[in-house]
């Protein structure tokens, strides 16, 4: 009995499918004829004709569009009947029907928008075209008729929320695109099944340049927390011109040279951003006299103090072994005046942007460093002022270097990629294809954003789904139609893309490697330029007398055999309140230090993007402690020698080691040798490297 019922159901379905299929074929003919008719009317030039002719043309356009709309509605109705009949019995047929419904719905919505754009009332002829049960990129609410443009949920050009929606733009969005091509064959609507596409990459052999841009777009979309889907898709908008060009260039690639080493779109490597290199030695740190310091000499730069202070709400916190150092700058006052740490504020601040203030505290509670910030734990406070030299890339010297040496490469890259993008805009076939596909891809991604699988996925999986949909779409809607000649790109355009644009992009991108090399040299030079600072430090001695230290710090690279950097300190210290009982006079000591530093490549970082080098330094100190004269067990003349090694062992991580010999100390005449080591994490570098790994 069950078998008989099943047989009846199959026969019934076949009859229904056949009957509606025949009707559908006739209907499609009618729809296609109307499409052709509309194309002819649209391509009829009426510019310069009389007002009567122009008016008649407008009315004819409106009438033809309404007829086409009615015909599409008939098609949709027939398709929905089939959709209901086939149910879930035949997944393949159901899928084809769904796809056709999507295509026609999109076309319908565009038509409605164009009718309304010229003031026609689409609801007069349009029947309900509810899309209940359909999957895909329907742009109208389920079961509703589209009687005005506000009913459309997918608006490719909605006004910004910060911009009032004017009457002139509210009817415009869908109507502006896609354009109708006057002299070229109509572009077939290509839609994808988002539910399937999200699962797999169907464009596995996509050019690396395309892959890079798809990954960037997906990452940007996932990171974007804006709830407005249109705003969320800025990542797609920002790369779509690139996606379009790379896909077109791939599609017009002559057969057989896909892997040829000659400049073709598939052999061009990913583009790396400039400036993604690493540097060492940027901590402010405690002074060289602090017990937690592994450095026997103090550097003149407080390289990142100002900005760090600002970005950390005014105070920079630096923990080094058992000492916590807090730093800030009067420049902060300028940033609080509005505009933040901007170029304008920086320039206005004048001398104040050269001054930094810091305070160091002994740390007993390492779990909560700020808990140690108590007056009783204060070991020193100080002021530093930059006298001359600037090792920041904001310096005029570096800006000039950039303008002369690097900017031309970046400009050439911009022109090389900008030209084909502009070419697409001027091409009668590729421009409408771009306009149409961009909106369709947006609609597909909006559908994905609303997909329950997507919404419950991890961020990594969301990125994969977004990428898959983009690959799937670019393959199905741009690559395949051009490759199969469904979208006809003329031979001249193909030749220009293959022989002119792609080689130029290849050359410009290859030149960026040279730009990067020059930039690294320039940065190297910058970090070696002379730098001088005056420093004042007030040392707090819990068991002795507090004293003040005045120091001139100077640093200059490449002064010894053209290889080593020389760093010099000279200064004197004075007691705030000398204690005669301890043999103290106003002047506590004179001190001088000289250091020679060099760097070699790190064997641990081979084939890694971190360019940090092993740095080494030989340092000699001399100190004359006047109060030690004539005191048993003490020396007035103290000297020390140190060898320090900073070994980058992995990206963003380094191991600093130091061995120090001292002829004595301020409190004893005993010779001693000590060994210090630590472990250094550079969060900025780690971050930059993570990013590089993500975009190899």
């Amino acid at each position: 009995m069950k078998t008989i019922k099943h047989a009846f159901l199959v026969v019934g379905l076949v009859v229904l499918t056949c009957s509606t299929g025949i009707g559908q074929e006739q209907q499609a003919d009618k729809t296609q004829a109307l499409r052709e008719q509309l194309r002819q009317v649209e391509s009829t030039g009426v510019n310069g004709k009389s007002a009567i002719i122009q008016n008649l043309h407008k009315r004819t356009l409106l009438s033809t569009r309404k007829q086409l709309l009615a015909s599409i509605d008939d098609d949709l109705e027939a398709l929905r009947t089939m959709q209901a009949a086939v149910g879930n019995a035949d997944a393949e047929t159901r899928q084809d029907i769904d796809a056709q419904i999507q295509t026609l719905t999109l076309e319908r919505n565009q038509l409605v928008a164009r009718i309304e754009e010229v003031g026609g009332n689409s609801s007069a002829t349009a029947r309900s075209s509810g899309s209940s049960g359909s999957v895909g990129i329907s742009s109208e609410p389920s079961g509703s008729s589209v009687s005005n443009s506000d009913a459309m949920t997918v608006d490719p050009h909605p006004p910004s929320s910060s911009q009032p929606r004017s009457s002139s733009t509210s009817n415009q969005p869908m109507g502006e695109r896609p354009e109708t091509i006057a002299n070229a064959a109509p572009i077939p609507q290509q839609n994808i099944d988002v539910n399937n596409c999200k699962l797999t990459n169907t464009y596995k052999d996509a050019p690396e340049l395309l892959v890079q841009r798809v990954e960037q777009a997906a990452s940007d979309i996932v990171r974007n927390t804006n709830p407005d889907p249109n705003a969320k898709l800025r990542g797609l908008s920002g790369v779509y011109p690139y996606l379009m060009f790379y896909t077109v260039a791939d599609a017009v690639l002559p057969t057989g040279i896909e892997n040829a080493p000659a400049a073709n779109i598939r052999t061009i490597e990913r583009l790396q951003y400039l400036g993604e290199t690493a540097r060492t030695d940027k901590q402010v740190g405690a002074s060289s006299r602090s017990s937690g310091s592994t450095s026997a000499i103090e550097k003149p730069g407080f390289a990142r103090l100002l900005g760090f202070a600002v970005e950390n709400g005014g105070i920079l916190q630096d923990v080094n072994n058992s000492v916590i150092t807090l730093s800030t700058s009067p420049y902060l006052l300028y940033t609080m005046n509005g505009g933040g740490d901007s170029v304008e504020n920086y320039n206005r601040a004048g001398f104040l942007n050269r001054v930094g203030i810091s305070a160091s505290f002994n740390m007993t509670d390492s779990a909560n460093p700020l808990a140690n910030v108590r007056r009783g734990d204060l070991t020193e406070w100080g002021v530093k002022a930059r006298l001359f030299g600037d090792r920041s890339t904001r310096s005029k010297r570096f800006q000039d270097f950039w303008d002369a040496k690097i900017r031309p490469f970046v400009e050439a890259k911009g022109r090389a990629i900008g030209e084909p993008i502009n070419f697409i805009d001027n091409n009668a076939v590729l421009r409408p294809l771009r306009n149409q596909t961009r909106e369709q891809l947006k609609a597909a991604l909006v559908q994905l954003l609303n997909d329950s699988d997507y919404q419950s996925a991890s961020e990594a999986d969301k990125e994969i789904m977004l990428r898959n949909v983009m690959y799937c779409f670019m393959r199905a809607s741009v690559y395949d139609p051009i490759r199969s000649n469904t979208v006809k790109v003329d031979p001249e355009a193909r030749t220009q893309i293959n022989d002119e644009f792609v080689p130029r992009v290849a050359q410009a991108f290859a030149n960026m490697a040279e730009a990067k090399r020059l930039l690294n040299e320039g940065l190297d030079e910058l970090y070696k330029s002379p730098l001088a600072t005056f420093g004042y430090t007030n040392h707090r001695q819990p068991t002795g007398s507090d004293y003040s230290e005045f120091k001139f710090l100077y640093e200059q690279d490449k002064t010894v055999f053209g290889m080593l950097k020389i760093v010099g300190n000279a200064g004197l210290t004075m007691y705030n309140k000398p204690n005669p009982l301890l043999n103290q006079s106003r002047v506590r000591d004179f001190a001088a230090a000289l250091s020679f530093e060099g760097a070699i490549d790190s064997p641990f970082l081979k084939n890694q993007p971190d360019l940090s080098k092993i740095t080494y330094a030989f340092t000699g100190n001399y100190q004359r402690m006047r109060e030690n004269e004539g005191i048993p067990g003490r020396k007035p003349d103290l000297s020390a020698f140190q060898f320090k090694l900073d070994i980058p062992i992995y990206g963003g991580m380094a191991l600093p080691l130091a061995i120090t010999y001292a002829s004595g100390s301020e409190t004893t005449n005993r010779e001693h040798t000590r060994f210090n080591f630590g472990f250094k994490f550079d969060m900025d570098k780690l971050f930059a490297l993570t990013k590089l790994v993500g975009n190899p």
Binding site: H157, Q163, R223, R279, R394, V410, I421, D425, L523
Partner: protein, 115 residues
């Protein structure tokens, strides 16, 4: 001018478009922006750097402005370029490109719509 999203705007033919670019934190790093309009380098002036162009294309066409922002190694993780886009027919919009963003060279599109 109206905005679709940070990297997509609608403009009218003849409209003058102005772009202002500033960088933060200026105390730590320099500003290195290069703009290319339709395959031609666009030169800016002043501080903050201001770039201008006129919409000369027809409806359905678009101007593409590639904004190439370089972040130097001395720029901290939260460094950013602030961009202000405005049109002579009204509309001023802002967006930022930060060092941590995946896209440092967005192709900003100005779609020409009927006026």
């Amino acid at each position: 001018m109206t905005k679709n999203n940070d990297f997509e705007y609608r403009v009218r033919k003849g409209e003058r478009v102005k772009i202002k670019i500033s960088f933060k934190p200026a105390s730590q790093s320099g500003s290195f922006a290069v703009l290319t309009l339709d395959g031609q380098t666009l030169h800016g002036s002043g501080s903050p750097a201001t770039y201008e162009f006129t919409v000369v294309k027809d409806v359905q066409h678009e101007h593409t402005l590639i904004m190439d922002f370089t972040f130097m190694p001395d720029a901290p993780a939260n460094a950013q370029y602030d961009v202000e886009v405005s049109g002579s027919n009204g509309g001023t919009f802002n967006f930022a490109v930060t060092k941590s963003d995946p896209i440092h060279d967005p192709a900003v599109v100005f779609m020409v719509v009927a006026g």
